[in-house]
Symmetry: C2
């Protein structure tokens, strides 16, 4: 194999059947293949097994399977919604307590004058740091993969790359607890990205009917234990997560489709939508039942992140060029954000911190954030009078408004409280809905750069942290600044409401950072519940993404590329129609003969030169290419000691055996093969998947790319004119071509890979 194979290796890291040549799908199939060159014995065995299969198949007929799929989707949706309720209620409770305590410390009831702020500042710093430290500890030591938003990991998973430990119960628990603590601890992060991850993990767990972490294995849903089915359910789970996070069921479906990025399948889409809708309903019933101030079953308080009602949202057609300009600003700011975060992330990795160091880093950043909040509060000179419903002129009720007086007079509030004391969700709402003159431009100008830098610093540390809310909040802040500027120039009555500007800014900020397109647009439209703003939002998103794309990739894709994960993009690399299969394939081919010695099998599987999942098999007599056999099948054959004995019918692996080990396969040394077995033979013929796609020396990279992309392939064999395998093209080879071609961070990838920082 190519010598720099270790640069992009994750594909073959986990012994796992691909979706096309899937273990189980192929397993279903291979028993049915009538091999005309086989002996009669063979026929008999295979017939027996085929009848067995048929009986099984009738037992769990396709209608039952379909009903079960719907049932699973219902549970995924319901539980994702429930997790959303848990997260929301916990954060509100925890940060509510924290705020109440701090408020009492800063402004004790009995003393109406200024008191020393030393104690409350200390308590605040201590609280935040310890919340975040706990979150960081859990994350670093229990589930490092739970760090960050989880969206890039899910994106990789849906793209067809197994990211180890992403879909695990432990990851889910760390993610949920971690995000509650991180948000309550005042970190600059949102809970929306982690919701998507949570939904995906739930989907992975429920659909498999077992939990290897808990040691529970049931026989229910066992027919869904293959990569293809699991991926479909995980897509549904991700959709349910988005749906619960933003109150956007359609946006959730589009998110799953945009990221899953395979073939649009009507029944699947329909199921994903059902799941997404269930999650939306579950969250809403849950929230309205838990929160006493909401009417049960009233769906106006939709989503974890509630944008609130946009009633006063007329805009003027002459503002459209301005909105496009705001899109440009959003794109530029987003590109800066990504670039800065990339530099920080690369440096963070070059230091190769220990787990403890990573935990301490989270604590430091928490401390830094809290100090920044406190400084902002003290620096901000703008106050508002206190009334029964919150600050005078505020659109936000007392209940939601987290108030601090700080340097303001009695019966006044510091306007910065809305931005830096409550949860980021409250701040977003304040940006969207507070009237024109509520925030002074100085307040916003103090807040924006500090918050932006904190967000940039925070994304990538070892705690669960979403990026949506910080991006929205920064965008909304400069959106309001643009509004203030325009109002000064043109007069406030000639331009639209500040809420429109804040929303446009938020959309631009988000699109410039994450670079999602249709799903983001629909998410924002659904979250605002207003189609009138659809055109400016669309225009802004298009501009912002286009401008950002001129400079770099989106934040998720940037991180994925830094990890060196071989995901396939939307379109083939440029000039790929000029490149032939021979130019990208790996050679020589590691393959087996149709009847092979145990020694050869063992040695190749144990080889450290490669970690292939599929091996081409050639005819033992004439060397003709027969098809592919999977690593997992060979492992199971060896473990079950199904050696070839020409004198009697061969025992074959049963479907149950094939499924039992999914998805955590063992290594070849665990098969219990000893030296005495080494010269025995194994007959691979019944396990060959013969209906595989062949490439010729004339196949262009372009057509290979489209084949892999559309069918979710992982490997295909290149044959010469005599049908002899001369090379193998893997997903990695295609991804590597692009990486080399575009010279993306050769060295960092390599180091990332060796440091195993994200997926050890």
């Amino acid at each position: 194999m190519n010598e720099d194979d270790d640069v992009l290796l994750i594909d073959d890291d986990v012994a796992e059947p691909s979706s096309e040549n899937t273990g189980i799908q192929a397993g279903d199939e291979l028993y049915k293949i009538k091999n005309e060159f086989e002996s009669l014995n063979y026929e008999i065995v295979q017939n027996r097994i085929r009848q067995d299969e048929l009986r099984r198949h009738n037992k769990t007929s396709s209608t039952t399977k379909e009903l079960e799929r719907w049932l699973i989707c219902f549970f995924i949706g319901a539980l994702t919604g429930a997790i959303g309720v848990v997260i929301t209620v916990s954060i509100e409770a925890l940060s509510g307590l924290k705020q109440k305590w701090l408020n009492n410390l800063f402004h004790p009831r009995e003393v109406e004058s200024h008191v020393s702020s030393f104690v409350p500042v200390l308590v605040w710093c201590w609280l935040d740091t310890s919340f975040v430290l706990i979150s960081g500890l859990m994350c670093a030591f229990l589930a490092p993969v739970a760090a960050g938003s989880g969206i890039p990991q899910i994106k990789c998973f849906l793209n067809g790359v197994r990211f180890p430990k992403v879909i695990r119960l432990k990851t889910l628990i760390v993610k949920v607890l971690g995000i509650i603590l991180a948000v309550s601890g005042g970190l600059v992060c949102g809970k929306e990205g982690p919701m998507v991850h949570a939904g995906a993990v739930l989907a992975g767990g429920i659909s498999q009917g077992n939990s290897l972490s808990l040691g529970i294995t049931t026989s229910i849903f066992e027919h869904f234990r293959d990569d293809h089915e699991k991926r479909d359910f995980v897509a549904a789970g991700a959709a349910a997560g988005v749906s619960a996070a933003f109150g956007a069921p359609v946006g959730g479906v589009l998110f799953a489709l945009e990221e899953a990025a395979s073939f649009w399948n009507q029944p699947l889409t329909w199921r994903i939508f059902f799941c997404s809708m269930t999650s939306f309903m579950s969250l809403n019933y849950g929230l309205t039942a838990m929160k006493t101030d909401l009417q049960f079953g009233n769906f106006s308080a939709v989503g974890l992140l509630n944008f609130g009602k946009f009633d006063n949202s007329m805009w003027y057609y002459y503002e459209l060029p301005l909105f496009v300009l705001m899109g440009v600003i959003g794109g530029l700011l987003g590109a800066c954000f990504v670039q800065l975060n990339k530099v920080i992330t690369i440096n963070r990795i070059h230091l190769r911190p220990s787990r403890l160091a990573k935990t301490l880093e989270t604590g430091c950043i928490a401390l830094l954030s809290t100090c920044a909040y406190i400084v902002m509060l003290y620096v901000n000179p703008y106050c508002r009078d206190e009334t029964e419903d919150g600050p005078a002129g505020s659109a936000i009720s007392m209940k939601e408004f987290q108030h601090l007086r700080m340097n303001c007079g009695p019966h006044q509030y510091n306007t910065m409280s809305l931005l830096s004391f409550g949860t980021p969700e409250t701040a977003v709402k304040a940006m969207f809905h507070e009237p024109y003159d509520f925030f002074h431009s100085t307040t916003l100008l103090i807040f924006l750069p500090i918050y932006w830098l904190l967000a940039c610093l925070t994304y990538g540390i070892s705690v669960p942290s979403g990026l949506f809310v910080p991006a929205l909040l920064c965008g909304a802040t400069w959106g309001r600044l643009v509004h203030i500027l325009m109002a000064t120039i043109c007069g406030v009555e000639k331009i639209s409401d500040p809420s429109v500007y804040a929303l446009v800014g938020a959309a631009a900020g988000l699109a410039g950072t994450v670079r999602m397109t249709l799903s983001l647009c629909v998410i924002i439209i659904e979250a605002t519940g207003n189609l009138t703003l659809a055109l400016p939002i669309t225009a802004v998103l298009i501009t912002s993404k286009a401008v950002g794309d001129l400079f770099n990739k989106g934040i998720y894709d940037t991180h994925i590329h830094l990890w060196g994960v071989p995901i396939l993009e939307w379109e083939p690399p440029p000039n790929s129609e000029l490149i032939k299969a021979t130019g990208i394939m790996s050679k020589p081919v590691v393959g087996f003969r149709s009847v092979e010695t145990v020694r050869n099998l063992y040695n190749e599987l144990a080889s450290s030169n490669h970690q292939h999942n599929g091996f081409p098999v050639t005819d033992a007599n004439n060397g003709d290419y027969q098809g592919l056999v999977l690593r997992s099948h060979i492992l199971l054959i060896l473990k079950n000691r199904l050696f070839y004995d020409p004198s009697r019918p061969q025992d074959l692996l049963s479907l149950t055996e094939l499924r039992s080990a999914y998805p955590r396969y063992f290594s070849v040394s665990e098969t219990g093969i000893e030296e005495v077995d080494m010269d025995k033979l194994v007959d691979l013929r019944p396990y060959i998947n013969k209906s595989v796609h062949m490439l010729t020396v004339e196949s262009t990279l372009e057509s290979i790319f489209r084949l892999f992309r559309a069918l979710g392939l992982r490997h295909a064999v290149v044959v010469d004119k005599a049908l002899k395998p001369i090379g193998i093209v893997t997903r990695k080879d295609i991804a590597r071509f692009r990486a080399e071609n575009e010279a993306v961070h050769r060295i960092p990838i390599d180091e990332f890979r060796q440091s195993h920082v994200y997926y050890d």
Copy 2:
């Protein structure tokens, strides 16, 4: 080839490059292919041409192309919106005049008592019949393909099947004029389906930068003249049509994706959404500018079919089982509708009517409809008092309410007027928004069966006619009946508003008939502008589609199957993993050698046994399979007399020549080849697409299906172990397999095919 080849033939009917082995895409590619076995001469020629290509390529670089695509999408959207405005305003003007005249005739101002209704009834019948007759005449004689909703035709087009003459300017004009006359003439049909078709035609026309019908050929956008690009634009046009028809930009995108059904491509989807959004905005600005009663730029009056505001739309959770039951009713009624319409359509075709007969049929049905309306009006005994704003207690204003007194007293109106005198859109709105006691159950019970039968009879006659509105109206009618029933049983205050029941019924009716899923759901949610009803609507749509699918296919698919069009479904046919390529391929292969005589080429192209578009080419020396060559390329070679002369470098076709003839290729007899040329040679080597997907004898139908479906292939060659082509699998072969397996209408398909009724 197989003898029943003519059963499913449309695929190969039009000499047209496929999307995978596209003429132009392959053309782009083939010049770049470095054929290592070729002589030096060849190299020189190819290098020259490659540089030529490169220069061209730089001229229209990919960025320019991308910008042009966005520009085209903008124009498609803007013009589709404009056509929506034209249709709406024309229908309102025309039917407004008709209604005013009839109203004056029925109730002349000077006479306050009953007058003879003989004259007005006659005028009504005469008006309606003549409107529809004109529409039918245009349709039957000018563009038979403009009949019906156009959605099935667009579905076929997007599925990869060329439906002749669907994307033509003439078709568009007939469609627009025809639907205006048909709706004004009181036919039971809607204008929404035709809007989708109109958008698609516009897209086809604009993106090609020329109109062969008008004889205009420009050089702009010439690089978009291939099937693949055109299909993408047509998808955008269809989305724009849905967006304009229902005020549902997201629904439009989902419709295009659900029907286009290929591979989800992020940049494409994003463009489609932009197009859809432009159409929505264009329609709204147009409508608000044209209609004096609307505020310019106010987007509450969205879409051609305005569902109105659903403000009072709380529902109770205990109603959910009832809604599911309504879904069952919708599914059953829909299945009956499809079955009845199928029988009618088959009989209609068996009679093999002439064009004149088809025109007369439209007149008869118009007359029948009008008579039915008049009878319903006379039979309905329920009247309402007249007030300034329309009937007392009505939610619909005087402006929209088309009133007739008929058998009612002075200063009263017949409640049936709302249903059978105005446009169907008014009737739908009345169903959705009139208060609980507005319609008496008897009125609805009279209206429902008659309207249902008329709708069933109308769909399939030779006028442009959409099915959405009739299906919605029937559904809403029985939805209200269910509400009345429930109100009688439980009391009106314990159940939700009649508007909710009407909407649920409408959704059930529509889903039971057309069986669309996600896009329909989003369309309804967007048209109502209310997420509260999302859950019941989803539940109802799922049930209704599932129940309907137990009995038959949706109305569009039924018609497509009756036409014998080989579209590919979502999933491979059952048990397809047991079927090998050898079981479905056509053989012997019609192929050529790499250097072939003109005689052989001419004879095969002129052969009436087949109409293949792609031919496998084998090496002239050793018979090895080389790749595919396209019919269109061979035709152009022959026409340009580019014969093989070993003594000098060969002239090659230029890209411009390859594009010039797209999409209407000529027949082989028009190439001007004479007997003296017959023994000359043609060198096909530069035109071979070598990067094609090969199938082996071991390929299963399942994997072949997925390959064709995902990549939009039209043909693939099956090779044996020595790489010799032994058969060819076309889209038709796959579709035929399913048809034969499920025994769908062998005889009718055959006769349809021969009668050329839909696509002559």
